[in-house]
Amino acid sequence: MNISIQDLSHTYDALPAPIEALSSVSLQIPSGQFAALIGPSGCGKSTVLRLLAGLLKPNCGMIYLDDFPPPRAIAQKRVAWMAQSPALLPWKTARDNIELAQRVNPQPRRNSLSSDELLNLVDLADFADVYPFSLSGGMQQRVALARSLALNASVWLMDEPFASLDELTRESLAFEVIRLWHIFRVTVLWVTHNIYESVRLADRIMVMSPRPGHIHADIEVPLSRPRDETSTEFLAIVKQIRAALKAE
């Protein structure tokens, strides 16, 4: 699924004064690309993702997911949105949390994997009947990941999904996502604060300016995976992103 955003602006009705979060953001992400969005805190990255996920309505500008505006794509559950908090329902087991994603607004014509297969994919087969409060933070995020996979969506919107986890867990989960991305061949828009993480994962990195945010640099990552973080090509791209972030 392509993501296409044209001249998107968004202002929050806040007190005492409205907050202009995005000003004239335009971007195109072709189907199947792994794109990263990086930028300083408060520049509007989460706002872009919430607009794409239909959780906010834009003040002006156009958003298309293939040929559909977000509400249409959401109605068909073509979009999986995942944020920093796993937001699992604490009164449901891991399996029930995953199955809920399939039971709510069901799309019977698009068959997705079973909860057991999904739990296997995120390596939690033994924890199917465990409640979230008995899982570690990383395990909870893995359940949330499996729950997103359960939608069988064509776009994954990932808003710093592993930011609250420790470095080691974060890295291994990020590789997990790359592996799953290869399996499911979806479009990914990955928000991060972490320059190395973005270069490690993405095909392409969009750098946002401080608030009100717009796309300030758009950098291709022509490296094959797995990537060597000590290679000169890798470090050159890191340098390029750092320069773009500083330029503002």
Binding site: L55, I74, A83, P90
Partner: protein, 251 residues
């Protein structure tokens, strides 16, 4: 967890028992006449000597309290769910609820007795009216304070109102509902007794009223003791049920 419960009741006993002993000693030392304040032993022996009629009266009052509480719960939860689905109704509905809440039950109770007789029905209605408000208010704020991250997740699946209510809002409201029950449970007993006081064919309220008009204080206090015990029992049951139902919150 299980080892805590006996220590709790021991704690309660450790507070109540010395208070009763002190009461007994003061009444004996000052030779207070029985029609002013009876000693606990006199009250307990009255209770023992009339165990049968107290038992029967307790069953009536407890039954009224339970049915009234069930009525109040259904009304409170039902209206809260309605307002959860259609928030536009909130202002009108809450005005009505506050109107009912601020009408003194002591004024309505005799009316209901005139209209519906001396049976249990007017008591159940009064108890329902008294208990529904805490349930409504707490349940509603529970439904409204559902976890925003969970709500966002369901909205990102385009869940409809009913799905959001069932899967997120209602479970999020359950701890609030139990907080309301802790108020409404003991209140239900008061409701039943107040309603009986204004005219009844049986129940602890009627015993209290009879004892009061005859200045038979041991009789009156015996009923009060039973009510206090029943209130504690209600409360304990609610706490136990809460632990079972809202198992996911850290205790």
């Amino acid at each position: 967890m299980n080892r805590k419960r006996p220590s709790n009741s021991i704690l309660a006993l450790a507070i109540v028992a010395p208070a009763l002993i002190l009461w007994e000693l003061i009444v004996r030392a000052t030779q207070t006449p029985i029609y002013i304040l009876p000693a606990p032993t006199q009250i307990l022996s009255t209770l023992a000597n009339n165990a049968g009629s107290y038992m029967q009266a307790s069953l009536i009052t407890l039954g009224e309290a339970l049915f009234g509480l069930a009525l109040g719960l259904m009304a409170g939860i039902g209206i809260a769910l309605l307002l959860g689905l259609w928030p536009n109704l909130e202002r009108g509905m809450m005005t009505l609820a506050i109107l009912i809440k601020s009408t003194p039950m002591i004024a309505i109770a005799p009316l209901l007795t005139i209209w519906l007789g001396f049976g249990v029905l007017p008591k159940i209605i009064i108890t329902g009216l008294m208990t529904f408000f805490p349930v409504l208010v707490n349940m509603l704020s529970g439904l409204q304070s559902a976890n925003p991250a969970m709500l966002d997740t369901l909205h990102s699946w385009n869940a409809n109102r009913g799905e959001v209510l069932r899967n997120v809002r209602i479970p999020c409201a359950l701890p609030y509902l139990f907080a309301a029950l802790k108020v409404s449970g003991p209140l239900a007993l008061i409701g039943a007794v107040v309603a009986e006081w204004t005219g009844a064919s049986g129940g602890l309220g009627r015993i209290m009223w009879l004892a009061y008009t005859n200045l038979n204080l041991p009789y009156l206090f015996a009923a009060v003791f039973l009510l206090a015990a029943a209130g504690m029992g209600f409360y304990g049951l609610i706490v136990q049920a809460e632990k079972k139902v809202v198992f996911w919150t850290p205790s």
